[in-house]
Each structure stands twice: as structure tokens, then as C-alpha cells.
Symmetry: C2
Amino acid sequence: MEQLTILIVDDMEAHRRRLARIIGELPHLSIVGEAQSGKEAVALAVEEEPDIILMDIEMEDKMAGIRAASEINFSSPESKIIILTIHKDNDSIFSAYQTNIADYVIKSASKEEIIEAIENAASNTSPIRPFVASKLREEFARVKKFEENFTHIFQVIATLTPSEVEILKSLCQGLTRKQIAAERSVELETIKKQISSILKKFDKRNTKEVIRIINDHDLFTMINKIQF
Amino acid sequence: MEQLTILIVDDMEAHRRRLARIIGELPHLSIVGEAQSGKEAVALAVEEEPDIILMDIEMEDKMAGIRAASEINFSSPESKIIILTIHKDNDSIFSAYQTNIADYVIKSASKEEIIEAIENAASNTSPIRPFVASKLREEFARVKKFEENFTHIFQVIATLTPSEVEILKSLCQGLTRKQIAAERSVELETIKKQISSILKKFDKRNTKEVIRIINDHDLFTMINKIQF
DNA sequence: GAAAAAGGGGTATAAAACTTCCCCCTTATT
DNA sequence: AATAAGGGGGAAGTTTTATACCCCTTTTTC
């Protein structure tokens, strides 16, 4: 079996020791460095050019490991990065998979799983693990759909007037015409008129359809940020 | 081991026979139907409610299997779909992963791999296979980046006035201020003023930067379609 | 180095758009 | 029956926009 050099990146001594013990048992794996921060990791990666980097995410800050991975992809593209973390939340996973990582493994994984991850990474045969796959599939579908459908919606929203945008925000929050009128301190008739204009621009016959296409594409957050 | 019902969908007799042979060897797997088209597949899925559907992609047309999978997700959401195809091109894979499939397996896979795919799908533990993972990682990063950058640019473009949009279109075509003034039959000073306003909204110091971010995200076509 | 283009700031005015309100009405929804 | 949703016409006042002119500096181009 091919000789592999490994860099361990984790800010906790105990975690580094556990990994060192696991790797130490295998003669074809050798640790060429240990880093306690993202910064150190980037420097050591350039210096040692390891085959594999085992990278924790949360160090100096919540995403230090992801940023380090991203920098290493640029400065030391030959090193394969395995994210080895306790975090299995969507944010961590999606951020990680936006950089070119080989694998994403939970720290509680068995010795065998960690070694398998290293071997797979080295031979470019890392699958995406089941617990990641389901989340990634969903998110992938969402962003792909977003990309495909945004063009039309974009054109419509570009033509909305400032107060129409504000009313649209309120509609997305589920407010009725009456509530929106109260909120904006204007007559109900005014709101009715403007919603009518919004529907025309979207070419829809009722507000439900408009809200649906906005929710379907997760555009609410985006619309909510529009400020005139 | 739990009893699993399986639906085979493929327009080629020989392929269906091979799968039937593989499945027939295992007592806990039973074939409850065979379909030769996407349409048949949807009907049989509703009728038989199979645990697993082995689905070919290219049947009536190039993407019949993907469409069928999408419909089955809606009408028979309990059935797990395994795409089993000869196509490993990006289009097929990305389309497949936009619908909720359990796995994507190449037809030349060994008997063992196919059975493993079925077992994993049944127990909700399908990883994304290495040959798919690398492509999916790349595409995921691309569309995620698109979505992130789009949000900011979107907010800016939503605040542009009609004539600012027109001038932006001209700028993207590489026209100078003088040319745009001539094109719109207005004074040069007017255009200078409006471009100044555009730069402020984009928070950029020159038009090159604005054009660059528009081109970087392939937004020109989209902006060009905006009509007030 | 001169000329042209790009970019920033101020001011002003007519036209356009927006906001608001009123009236009327029909159709869903409850 | 009552309320909400949706469509259409009209009209007032206000705000923005589009346009133009002035001034200036910096950058690019020839």
C-alpha cells in the first residue's frame, strides 16, 4: 500500500491525540504535522504538502476550518482535505461542500471509518456519506431549481415599486389586506389597489400563487433585503 | 431480513431479464412488476406501491426516467427510486439529483453493487457514489456561489430606475458615455449623471467593476430582458 | 503632454411615476 | 349573510425620474 502523509488540524489536544493513535497503528500512514488553528493549517499545508489533511471546523471561530480548507485548495491543491468534525448541521455541511473537500466525517466515527475515509480520499474514491447525502440532495435540488426559475421572477421584481415591495414582504408574512393597511396606516382600498398591481406584474390571479413561487424559490429573505 | 418489493423499469427486455435474474436469487427480494416506459412505471408504482423502483433513464425519450421518477415522488412517495442507467453524463446526473432519488447506479455495476444499492435504499442509508460525488460537489459549489452572489446583485438591480437599466444594458454592450448619449438622444451630461447614480447603487467606483460582476454571474441576458 | 474619457458634486425644471383615496362591481371563502 | 379577495375607473397630491447645465479632479489614451 502506498505511503500517505497526513496533517492533523484540531484545536483540542485530546482530539489530536486520538487521531494520532489511530494513524500511528498503520505503518503506511505517517503524520507530518499538527496544527491548532486554521492559520497554522494553511502554513503547514504549504510547507509539508501532505497527501491528506484531517480538518476540524470550529477552531478560532465557528467556520475557521472551512476557510482554511478553501485557502489550502488554492495554495496547496494537491492535498486532499477530510473534514472531521462534531458538527452535522446544514450550515457546516453546505459550506464545506462549496469548497473542494474529499469527505465529511463525524468525529464519533469508528477507527475503521476514519481509516477508510483516508484511503478513499487518497485514491479519489470518496462517496458522499448517507447522512450528508440526503441533506445535500435536498439542497442541490433547491438551488438548481432556483437557478432555473429565477430569471422570470427577477424581471418581475425589478419592476415593482418601493411600496409594492413593502406590501409583498407583508403578504409573504401572511398578513391580510386589512392588517397591511393598519400596519402602513393607509386605507384598505389603497392596499387592495396595490396588491392588484402586484398580481398584474406577476401575471397571477391571486396572492397565494405569488407567495408560493416566492417560497418555492426561497426568495423571501432576498426580497426582505431590498431597500429603496 | 425484511421482505422488499421491487419494480423494474427498463425499455429493453435483456436488461429487465438480467435484473430479474439477480433479484430472483435472493429470497427476501420479490419483483412485483415490470414497466417498459415512464408512463407504465408511474401507473405500476401507484398500483403496486413497491419498496424499491429500479429505473432506467432513456426510454420513450432521453429523460423519460427522470420525469417518471419525479411523478412517482409525488404520487407514490413511499417508493425509493434507484436510477440504474448507462448514462453518466452531467445532465443525467444533475437532473436525477434534482428529484428525490435514493441512488444513481451505472448498469455495468456488479450484481453485488446492485443488491447493496437496493439494501441501502430500503434502509435510507444510500451514500452518493464516488463517480457522482465529484461531479455533484463541483456543481453544488457553482450553484451555491451563484445563489449567494445573486442575492446582493439582485437587491441592487431591484432599485435601478427604468432608464438606469437601459443605460446599464448599453454599458454591458461596451458603449461609451458619448455613444449612449447619442443612442438615447440626450445630452452627454445626462448620461454621466445617471451612470454616476448606477455606480453609487452598485457601490462600485467604475463601470468596469459593475460590468465584471454582471458578466461573472451571467446576468446580462437577464438584465437585458427587464422591461418596465 | 495634450486630449478625451471617466467620475464626482451641485442645482434646476418639466414630465412621469408613485401613493393615496374614492367609487363601483364580482367572486370566493367562511 | 358577512368577510375577504380581486378587478376596474377616476382623481388628488407627492415624490422620483429624466433631463440639462454648471463646476471640478482623476484616469486613460493617443
